[in-house]
Each structure stands twice: as C-alpha cells, then as structure tokens.
Symmetry: C2
Subunit: 238 residues, 2 copies
C-alpha cells in the first residue's frame, strides 16, 4: 500500500509520500514514490505514485524518456499545467492498459494512480489526482488537498485544520500528522518519507527532506501529537 | 454504510451503532442496528449489524422467532457465549447464502456482518465479530474492541486510548469520539446513534441511550474534541 498527500495552498504546495511497496506482506521494499521534473524558475512538476509498481515505474520511465529525447511532446513542453495533467494521464492510461492486457484475469492488479502538482511561469499552481484510466480531478479552494493510497486514517486531521490560507509550516505539520496516523494504523505504509515544499511563484523545489525512521524531529512531533490527543481526550466531559 | 463499534473492558462492555441505511445516496433511511436479547441476571446478548439490510433483518427475525417458539435451539438456550456466537453465525451464514442464491450475479451485495457481545451467568463477558459466512473472531486483551462497517476513520482514537482497563465512562467517550470522526468523514454513516453499556457480572442492559442529531451533550463533546485537536495541532512544533 501507499499513502501520498498533496496540499494546495495560497502560499504554495506541500507534498508528502511514504516509500513502502509490498507484494504480499512477506515481500516489502522501499521505493521512492515522489518524482520531480524542473526547469527552475520556468517550470516545476512533481508526481507522486500509488498502485502497481510495474505500472508506475514504466509510466515514469516513459515520461523521463520523452523529456530526454527532446523531440515530441513531454510534460516539460506542454503549454499549461492542464496540458501536463492531460499528457501524464494519457501516458498512465496507456501503460495501465498495456500491463493489464498482459495480465489477463489478474488485470485488476495493473492499476495505479498519481498526484501531480506544479506550476509554470505566468501560470497558476495546480494540483491533480490522476486515476488509473488517465482521467483526473483537481484540488480547489473547497477541497485544497488530494490523497492517494490508504487515505482514510489520515483524512480527519486534514479536514479539521487545512484551508487554502494555511501557511506552509502548518501545512507540513498537517501532512506529517496525517501520515503519522496512517503509519500507526496500516503496516503497509512505511518510513522513510519524502517531503517537498514548493513556494508559489518560484517554479522550483524548495525544501526537500527525506525523513528516515529514526528522524528525531518526526519522532518528537509524533509523541507530542499522541500526548495532545490523550490530554484532549482526558479533559473532555461526557 | 454503517459504523458499529464494541469495546470489551474489565468493567463491562460498551456498544455503539449508527442508524443510517442507504440503497444509493438517494435512498437513505433510518434503521436500528442494535438488538438486545435479555433475561436479566441470567443472560444478555446484544447484536449490532452491518451490510445488506435484507440479510440482517431476516437473520434477526429468525433469531427472534427461534426464541419465541421456545422449541429447538436459540441464542437464549445455547450453553455458552461461544455457543451463542456459533448459533448466530450459522443463522447469518444460512440467510446470506439463501439471499445470495436469489441474487445471482449480484450475490456480492448479499453480505452482512455482526458484532455480538454478551454474558451468561457464571460465564465471562465475550465480544465477537461474525463474518458474512458465519465464521467469527473474538476481542482479546490485546485488541479490546471490534468494528464493523466504515471502520477506518474511527480507529486511530481507539488505538490510542482504549485498553482493557479503561473505565466505562472513558470507554463511552472513546466510542462516541470514534463515531464523531466517522460521521464527519463519511456521509453514509448517520445519526441518530444507539449506545448501550453492559456492566460486567450484571447480565442485563445498563445505560441505554438513543442520541438524536440535536443531542446537546453529543454536540458539546464533538465541539470540545474539535477544539482539543486544533489546540493540540497549534501547539506542536515542527
């Protein structure tokens, strides 16, 4: 399983992904699920992936090859962020259906989804969730975050604290606590984590941090949150 | 959808269920999902249901008929709580497969599960989760609660605060806050709620409360919890 979350705020974007991949509980590995494509100052595109590793790796490799070849359309050449989402969606849909064809009756396992966020110069920052078939939805002011993978455990905290006006520090905190709840409840979501912040109007990756299992700051935050919940619980009268 | 939770503690048992039933989002009704069978002082059995209403209603009606007829085995005549779980499991499995037979290709919709808790005189209090096929698992000291239906949103709070030593007031609070998180995140779980407390060794239903949508105590608790979470969030340093 996987948990990835992207927050779209007026101040910028916060993206967080885990790295655990499993083919059954007895075959667990660590794979990066966050990919960045940037031409600093001009364009940044970040993609997070969930689902079949064979689909997501092939799709990402194809997107990279398109950019490297320099000929033909690519996510770096699309005119708008909507164009980027359409391009990436088309690639994901195509790879999914190729893999599904090969898998026959197990085709339902050839599914993957993506969160795609970014900004090009003179354009707005946009955040999309791309479904396995390549269609997509977009984050809005009403729903300023998108999740893929194991999304339920980490949703309540986001619903309570995230609005488009949330600042980038609080947004990182919300994303990390949302991940913390998910890590506690689903073993198939696992450390290390990849965190990235993109400030509005910069078109480049800002803070990038890999959070290892022994990260003292994350541990401290996790313990403090647990204590806050328990204290809050104790104080409430029935 | 549905959310029901049962907590098995040294001091007794707390059961909480919602009442929303839906056949699509445009056909929503209120149905009781908590059923009590008791011979006060001798035996109490409580059942909460999730899944296909046609299956759960038929199963509950059969269990009631068996008791009314007074001949043949019933959940009030089984020798032990394990026997009660086996009997109820057999009825649920049988009704499920009868309804599934009639539904042909839509048979996967004929699924229902139950939480069954209770105590007979001179026996231990026990809490079971019965699967659609009639097999079951039991709550233990390590995992003192069971959930059916939309269980994910409400699990983190239970994991953090519930142990077998939790007292009955805190256990009610935990169950209600777990329900509160679920109500916020899943529209197909809805008020009113049914709450029941069974004290260990009494073999009778103790507190029983139907919590309506405008219940001031539940509303106050919900607001206080929201505030505690937000305050806790604000205080945590990243």
């Amino acid at each position: 399983m996987t948990y990835c979350v992207g927050l779209l705020l007026k101040a910028g974007m916060v993206l967080l992904s885990d790295t655990r991949t499993n083919a059954g509980v007895d075959n667990i590995s660590t794979y990066r699920k966050m990919f960045t494509f940037e031409d600093p100052g001009e364009r940044i595109v970040a993609i997070m992936t969930a689902g079949s590793l064979s689909v997501t790796q092939t799709a990402i490799a194809r997107l990279e090859d398109e950019i490297a070849s320099g000929t033909g359309p690519s996510l770096m050449s699309a005119d708008t962020m909507l164009g980027v989402a359409q391009h990436v969606g088309a690639v994901l849909g195509e790879v999914s259906s190729q893999v599904a064809d090969r898998m026959g009756s197990r085709a339902q396992n050839a599914r993957a989804s993506m969160i795609l966020g970014g900004q090009r110069r003179d354009g707005a920052m946009r955040l999309f969730l791309i479904y396995p078939e390549g269609n997509f939805i977009e984050a809005t002011e009403d729903t300023p975050y998108l999740q893929i993978g194991e999304h339920k455990y980490g949703k309540p905290i986001l619903d309570r604290v995230v609005t488009p006006d949330t600042n980038l520090v609080d947004a990182q905190k919300a994303a990390l606590l949302s991940m913390d709840s998910t890590l506690r409840s689903n073993l198939s979501v696992g450390m290390p984590l990849d965190l990235m912040v993109i400030e509005e109007g910069t078109q480049r990756s800002g803070l990038r941090r890999r959070i290892e299992p022994d990260d003292p700051a994350f541990h401290r935050m996790s313990v403090a949150w647990s204590k806050a919940l328990k204290d809050g619980f104790t104080e409430i009268e029935i």
